[in-house]
């Protein structure tokens, strides 16, 4: 329980916090974030292992529930318990765990937890201090609460896809499971807000998070332009919504340029290489004109960028405080000198494979309570004995019986 300080990781921000994690893809990153901050996260997997273990990529591309890199990344530091929460015996065990739980995070469709008498209304009667965080496709209320979703559908309905891509391409989904990441970040933030309130009031609460709303909340200009100016933002390729940034091809790839910041500097630079064409003309000092005639400006600038490598341009630009960057590949990201110097990448040991692998590291550096990956993702039911026998007092014999009955 939270009040009982535990010796392990006592200098972590969330030491002593116990989290029960019954999440699927939408919430696995939420509990991962809490784990990295020092919470003890007990991941409840169905007997045989979580469905997410079937999601690739896999080590050496060989499907294996213990070798999913997707699962590894999203579950480092967690403890794994197998438990069939649909069985009576499983629910009894879950209730015993809930007695020592501060936070429950779940991602079932609304109504499912209620059908098992595990909805917030009934849990809060038994555990008034419990914080329950539910991350669902459309939230717990509203006409579409029962609709199905996934990362793609959330990206579409949340308004993200419509503005990504070019005017002559279909809408485009940003790379990665971004809606799940965003919802998980909101989940973790909401959980800690509720935890703070629990200190003030002694009471837990339910946090209802909608995947669709998480996407719609993270669109920068889209809702602002519509609400204030009635503008429906469109797809416009690599040109940033406000025209300030755009990608340009160069000798060895692409770079991101700011087109209008420090216009004089840009023109002088082009001119010093005899590439400014007519851009020196005084009329181009007018920003409105530059926006209107942007295709011409793009043409001139592109002639110039194509003669350089990305590194040449970026190095010089950053000396002049221009926010330019190379459009990096994963290889470039892995070799980023700034990330390396700051120790962003961390090695995580996988004793079963007698290997260490490099993982992406901390999203922020806390000076006193550093973020950390305490260990690799758990094997299926790796902590059954520790928790069921060590803590709940089941004998090895009873544990075996539960296994036979398919409870764990």
């Amino acid at each position: 329980m939270y009040s009982a300080l535990q010796p392990v990781g006592k200098d972590a921000a969330l030491s002593g916090l116990r989290v029960l994690d019954i999440t699927g893809e939408m919430g696995m990153f939420c509990t991962r974030l809490l784990t990295d901050l020092g919470a003890e996260v007990l991941k409840i997997e169905k007997p045989g292992g979580d469905d997410a273990r079937e999601i690739g990529p896999f080590v050496h591309d060989v499907p294996n529930p213990e070798m999913s890199l997707y699962f590894w990344f999203l579950n480092t530091g967690k403890k794994s318990l197998t438990l069939n929460i649909e069985s009576n015996a499983g629910q009894e065990i879950l209730h015993r765990l809930l007695e020592t739980t501060d936070v429950l995070v779940e991602t079932f469709l609304p109504g499912y937890m209620d059908s098992l008498s595990l909805g917030y209304a009934s849990l809060s009667k038994h555990y008034p201090r419990l914080i329950m965080t539910s991350i669902t496709p459309f939230g717990q209320t509203g006409p579409r609460r029962g609709y199905k979703s996934c990362n793609l559908v959330a990206s579409a309905l949340g308004g993200q896809m419509y503005v990504c891509g070019d005017s002559d391409t279909p809408p485009l989904k940003p790379y990665g499971e971004q809606s799940c990441f965003t919802a998980s970040l909101f989940g973790a933030v909401g959980t800690l807000i509720a935890l703070h309130y629990r200190h003030l009031s002694g009471r837990g609460q339910h946090i209802d998070i909608s995947l669709q709303e998480c996407v719609a909340s993270t669109l920068e200009h889209v809702n602002v332009l519509y609400m204030y100016e009635g503008i429906i933002s469109q797809r416009q390729g690599t040109l940033h919504w406000n025209g300030e940034f755009r990608l340009f091809p160069c000798k060895d790839g692409y770079i991101l340029l700011s087109l209008f910041r420090e216009w004089d500097t840009l023109v002088e630079w082009l001119d010093s290489e005899g590439m400014a064409a007519d851009l020196k003309e005084i009329r181009w000092l007018n920003v409105q004109l530059r926006l209107q005639e942007i295709d011409h400006i793009i043409e001139v600038v592109e002639r110039w960028t194509k003669r350089h490598t990305a590194a040449e341009l970026v190095e010089q630009a950053q000396l002049m405080h221009l926010p330019w960057a190379e459009v990096a590949s994963m290889e470039k990201l892995a070799g980023n000198p700034q990330l390396k110097e700051r120790g962003f990448f961390v090695e995580v040991e996988h004793p079963e494979l007698s290997s260490c692998f490099t993982y992406a590291g901390a999203p922020f550096k806390l000076s006193h309570t550093p973020w950390r990956i305490s260990r690799r993702a758990p094997l299926i039911g790796e902590h059954n004995e520790e928790i069921y026998c060590g803590e709940l007092g089941f004998s090895p014999h009873e544990l075996a019986a539960l296994r036979t009955k398919g409870v764990i």
Binding site: L14, P57, D61, F138, G139, G142, R144, K148, L152, A154, S155, G159, M161, C164, P171, L172, P174, Y175, G176, E177, Q178, A188, V189, I193, A194, H199, L200, H206, I207, D208, I209, Q212, E213, H221, V222, Y226, Y228, E229, T238, L239, F245, Y254, L256, Q318, H321, L322, P323, V327, A328, M330, L333, Q338, L339, T358, Y359, A360, A362, P363, F364, K365
Partner: protein, 397 residues
């Protein structure tokens, strides 16, 4: 005084942030009742949009606002006095700025033990590139998401807005809340060094791991499934101009339902679509045939008919669709707020609904210097004469 409706009602935050990432972090905390005091000055406003424009109003609602000229030593002294009576500081300048002003964590924490300070910057507070100029698009380019966000064999397209600023804002709010938790237990404050590049690169974790373990370099997938086996999967053109519906079919049962809803056209029985593997292998032809069906129907109709049978499907919504979305509407996702200069404004709510401490919209974004009297008079105990004098001196400016 703790307002028991507000989860963070006992927390005061001094907000030195501008543009999006920092203001977004502070807005999340302000929405839950933290008293966020945004510091602005006519001297240094620079690239930030004026206080009565939609962009500013959106990202700074629920905050108080004061003017304070930090380029003058008196201004910096008053900032220190305000920090003395606050719990946390949030800033997102390039690292040299707060140091040059003597407003860095090591200086501030000497006189204000227990202080939490969140410093957000593009590249972090240390390292050779700490003073790099970086905005959301810069971070997205460096993180790899720009290169990967495009269609297969197509030049990079990227995300046309500052998504990374939202991610950094969320990570910033999370880190500050974690530090508050630690302070609650130990009384100790701390400094948080948030690099937007690191917050964003963490979301490329699966790709980085695939590179480390399998030496595989991620490539763009467009709207195809990234980690799952699924087909049909993607967005399909519907009736009308630029109308699309996303459809995601993962299982055999779902495939059968889709066939049924489409009226079981003959092609669905062909051997090349008989199982998931064959459908994945013949994805392009399959998509073409599914689109023959979707183009005959409105996107909304496609979604409703498929969702009725439990299929994940969703309209590709533009800003107007969002504003009229019945689900968002039923949950009051958009809400009206009064604004001193604009009258009533519509703002996006919050995707977090708290059962006990619902997010409240207690005041709109501040006009420049709107809360000078409250902050300087009430919180710092200055007399009206003092406030007048500092105003005339160009300190409250």
């Amino acid at each position: 005084m703790v307002n028991n409706q507000d989860a963070l009602g006992d927390i005061r935050i001094v907000d030195f942030t501008w543009v999006l990432a920092g203001p977004y972090a502070a807005r999340i905390l302000a929405d839950s009742g933290a008293e966020v005091i945004k510091i602005q000055s006519r001297v240094t406003m620079g690239a930030e949009s004026p206080n009565n424009e939609g962009y500013f109003i959106t990202w700074n609602r629920n905050k108080r606002g004061i003017t304070l000229n930090l380029s003058k030593p008196e201004g910096r002294d008053i900032a220190r006095r305000l920090i003395q009576v606050s719990d946390a500081v949030v800033e997102n300048f390039t690292p040299r700025v707060m140091r040059n002003w003597g407003l860095d964590y090591s200086t501030l924490s000497r006189t204000r033990p227990g202080l939490i300070m969140l410093s957000m910057s593009g590249m972090g507070q240390t390292g050779v590139q700490q003073n790099y100029s970086a905005f959301g698009p810069t971070i997205q380019a460096l993180s790899g998401i720009t290169q990967l966000t495009t269609f297969p064999h197509h030049p990079p397209l990227g995300i046309g807005y500052s998504y990374a600023d939202h991610i950094a804002g969320l990570a910033g709010a999370l880190s500050l809340l974690a530090a508050l938790e630690y302070r609650h237990r130990t009384g100790r404050g701390q400094h948080i060094d948030l690099s937007e590049l690191e917050a964003m690169s963490g979301l490329m974790g699966i790709e980085l791991l695939n590179l480390a373990v399998n030496h595989k370099i991620a490539t763009p997938v467009g709207n195809h499934p990234l980690y799952h086996q699924a087909a049909p999967y993607g967005i399909y053109r519907c009736k009308g101009e630029d109308k699309w519906c996303a459809i995601a079919i993962f299982t055999e049962e779902e495939w059968e339902v889709l066939c049924h809803v489409m009226g079981n056209p003959r092609w669905t029985a062909e051997a090349r679509f008989a199982d998931l593997r064959s459908r994945v292998n013949n994805r392009d032809k399959l998509d073409e045939l599914v689109e023959e069906w979707t183009t005959q129907h409105e996107a909304l109709e496609v979604m409703e008919r498929l969702q009725k049978y439990g299929i994940a499907a969703g309209v590709v919504q533009d800003a107007s669709d969002l504003a009229h979305d019945p689900q968002l509407g039923a949950r009051d996702f958009f809400t009206q707020m009064g604004h001193p200069a604009r009258g009533s404004v519509t703002v996006d709510g919050s995707p977090m609904k708290f059962s006990r401490t619902p997010i409240r919209f207690h005041h709109s974004a501040p006009l420049l210097g709107q809360d000078n009297n409250y902050v300087y008079g009430k919180l710092l105990g200055m007399s009206q004469e003092e406030i007048k004098r500092y105003t005339e001196m160009g300190i409250f400016y």
